[in-house]
């Protein structure tokens, strides 16, 4: 039935695959069902509510650094890393259990777009908090607000070196030899807004970098002897390192206005036509095909411009894209998507932490550990080499022998909805020598590994 295939697409392409029993809840109109999921998320998922804010967890690190007991630093860091791993597992559990997988998928999309990575180990304990604070609230909000929240978050300012960027003609800059750093500005233009072909030049990078001097982490610039409880690692604008003068970015001039100067430049970039094209291309690549069809990109870019970057309306426009419903589904699941979707339909309650984190490490997609500021790749070739495929099969084969078997493989196959695309799979499952073998056949199938 065509309806059934649309349900399959709604659950897999826009979500993380069905939970056991979820397919029944999708209404006769899967597009309307998806649209009903677009609503501002005012509160955090319950599992994530108990974790500290970035400021609180990072201030523990700053405190341990100035502590007189050298053991403090080691123990504090170990404890915080342990908590970070617990939250990383809980974040994946949220995605396994959620009733709004469309929202959670968009969380991963946007967190990846604004990547902050553990490749800078100092900030690692705060990265899950970054996602909670800068990304989650804006997934169905305004792109401009998410851009400002992400760039202004102390973990991003740390990750891309802006906390060390000092205007050469600022009060502090004139006294020393230190200068500005272009790293954050370059990545904003290349990765977050205009895109690498967005028509900016070296001068735009420099001007944006100067406009963002003074955007800092309130705890980073302290001298150790001055550290007190009220110095917190939260966003802080430091006028004495901000470059004076007017800035020009992409032909637009921005008068000196302290912290508002940088904000004005970011807002300008958020609404630049190149940004709408670049974001549209990434979204369509994610929701339609590795090679994004030009017509769909055009539609989404127009929606972006028409709604001034309203991500709720843009998300709805993605649902309305005809190309997004084309079958068979062409996208290959990332390792994270594979692990989440497998556990969703397997219906394993209380998955031990190591069975969540180990496969992600093995398959090379540990959360918050993207290899570069560009984030994880979003094309089949980024994930499906022959070696990676064998490793997927090996992990799936091994984990299927560990999942507590509360339902028959036959039922799980039916819930996953795969047999309609590959009848041979039903026969193989029926004839499998054991239940874990049967489950492995299901989860290893190409139909399950695509979305």
């Amino acid at each position: 039935m065509a309806d059934n295939k649309m349900t399959f697409t709604a659950l897999n392409r826009f979500g993380f695959g069905p939970k056991f029993g979820e397919a029944r809840q999708v209404s006769k109109d899967p597009q309307a069902w998806l649209r009903s999921k677009i609503k501002p998320q005012k509160t955090l998922p319950v599992r994530l509510q108990k974790y500290d804010s970035y400021a609180v967890s990072m201030s523990k690190i700053y405190h341990s650094v100035v502590s007189e007991n050298p053991e403090d630093k080691r123990l504090t860091r170990r404890k915080l890393h342990q908590i970070f791993h617990e939250e990383t597992a809980d974040r994946t559990r949220v995605m396994i259990e959620t009733d709004n997988a469309f929202y959670e998928r968009l969380v991963t999309f946007w967190a990846n777009h604004f990547t902050v990575s553990r490749s800078r180990p100092w900030i690692a304990p705060g990265l899950a908090a970054y996602e909670r604070e800068a990304i989650r609230p804006h997934v169905f909000g305004k792109f401009e607000d998410m851009l400002l929240a992400a760039i202004g978050h102390p973990s991003m300012l740390f990750y891309l070196d802006n906390i060390k960027s000092i205007g050469p003609n600022s009060a502090l800059g004139l006294r020393g030899r230190r200068s500005y750093n272009e790293n954050l500005a370059r990545e904003i233009l290349e990765l977050h807004t205009l895109g690498v072909n967005g028509g900016y030049g070296l001068e735009d990078v420099k001007e944006l970098a100067l406009g963002l001097t003074g955007w800092a982490d309130g705890a980073f610039m302290f001298r150790q002897q001055d550290y007190t409880d009220d110095i917190m690692p939260v966003f802080k604008f430091i006028p004495r390192i901000h470059e004076p003068g007017t800035r020009t970015v992409m032909g637009e001039t921005f008068p000196q206005n302290g912290v508002e100067q940088g904000r004005a430049i970011l807002r300008h970039l958020a609404h630049h036509p190149a940004t709408s094209e670049f974001i549209a291309q990434k979204l369509v690549r994610h929701f339609v095909a590795d090679d994004p069809p030009a017509a769909a990109v055009k539609t989404i870019a127009k929606a972006f411009r028409d709604t001034k970057g309203d991500l709720a309306k843009i998300s709805a426009a993605l649902i309305d894209l005809k190309a997004a419903w084309a079958q068979p589904l062409s996208k290959v699941k990332t390792p994270h998507e594979l692990v989440v979707s497998l556990y969703r339909v397997a219906g394993w309650k209380n998955i031990p932490q190591r069975h969540i984190l180990e496969p992600l490490k093995l398959l090379e997609q540990e959360p918050f550990f993207a290899p570069s500021p560009a984030g994880w790749g979003d094309e089949a070739g980024d994930w499906l080499t022959s070696g990676a495929l064998i490793r997927r099969l090996e992990w799936i084969r091994a984990i299927c022998a560990r999942i507590p078997l509360t339902r028959s493989p036959r039922d799980i196959l039916a819930q996953a909805g795969l047999a309609q695309f590959n009848p041979a799979l039903s026969r193989k499952v029926e004839n499998a020598p054991s239940a874990d073998y049967a489950l492995a056949l299901i989860f290893c199938s190409a139909e399950f590994q695509r979305r």
Partner: protein, 398 residues
Amino acid sequence: MIDLSRRKFFGHSAALASLVAAGIPNLSFAQAATDKRLVVIVLRGAMDGLHMMPAYGDRHYYRSRPKIAVPKPGEQGGALDLNGYFGLHPKLGKLLPLYKAGDMAIIPAIATGYRERSHFDGQTVLESGTTNMAGTLSGWLNRALSNETTGHGPKGLALGKNVPLLLRGPSDVMSWAQDNLPDLEEEFLNDMAKLFVKDPLFSENLERGRSKTFSAPKNMMTSGKSLRSLNNFLEGTQAAGMILAQDRSPRIAVVDMLGFDTHYGQIPRMDVLFDALADGIMMLRKKLSKHWDKTTILVISEFGRTVAENGSQGTDHGRGGMSMLLGGTVGGGRVAGDWPGLSEKGLHEGRELKAAISYEALFKSVLISHLGLPRNFVEDVVFPQSRATKPIEGLFKT
């Protein structure tokens, strides 16, 4: 040394895989027609050449880098003199005997045709060998492997779970990585092959992944260094050395090394990286000692960094970088190629080293003079439209 299990090696040869599936044991591919070895080490993140090989004889060097310059030879932590003008970073000291023996050449100012400053695009140009980044790209090294004089069967080896662009393309290559999952049953793999039949992407990758070939190290060394990526690099060089030393094995390997994007705190980070780089190269020297007179190790990076230090004791992206060639084949003991100098007038945009030599010229030299590929093939297939770029003369012993 143990017989290598399937999970360790991922052959990318469809023909071989089907023979293995048919139950023919202990198959390995044909003896490669060349016995030359090539290891390419890609330093990702744009390695600062002036830190690797400080131009201590140039006053502009110390003027541009008041905080991060490597001290002069003879001073505490000073460079190791190479030729009275350039020195070698002290953490690369293990390589100095190679330089003195004439087995190491340094190219001080080299770049691709890429003019912008994105790591990802820069690496794409470096690895694909073209500045035209449209369409499906393949790596120049993979294209070079398509010549029959390099033999049949999988000829390239990627160390790491993913194959870098340098080795991606039409020719068969393999990748090697460590893990500790149990092997899959033959029956299960056969079932999956049948289930994948309608999906070429999955079925082709499965076939490639199933070939079982030659032996490789099982118990890898543990280096004691805490950085994950460095361990990967050191394990990769060890595995590459052990695999390439065998008679019937790929002849060409690519090893990645990450972490060279030193925008801040360059000194301590480069100390650790150079230490590991020297260890990795010496590991290759040791494992390939029997074949050293047929071995070339090529060290490359996507671009260079600014001549002047920035405000956070690091350097930013710049044009000209540095490259090294090591091996018994190399006409070394010298700094090869022109040096544009560090005076402000001589710099690109007043802040970056110019490129005196193009990577294309270097790569062509390696393919023609070391691997012995016909020049016509190199200029038709590997680097089309490159006839105007002459290979570098005299890089290799004759």
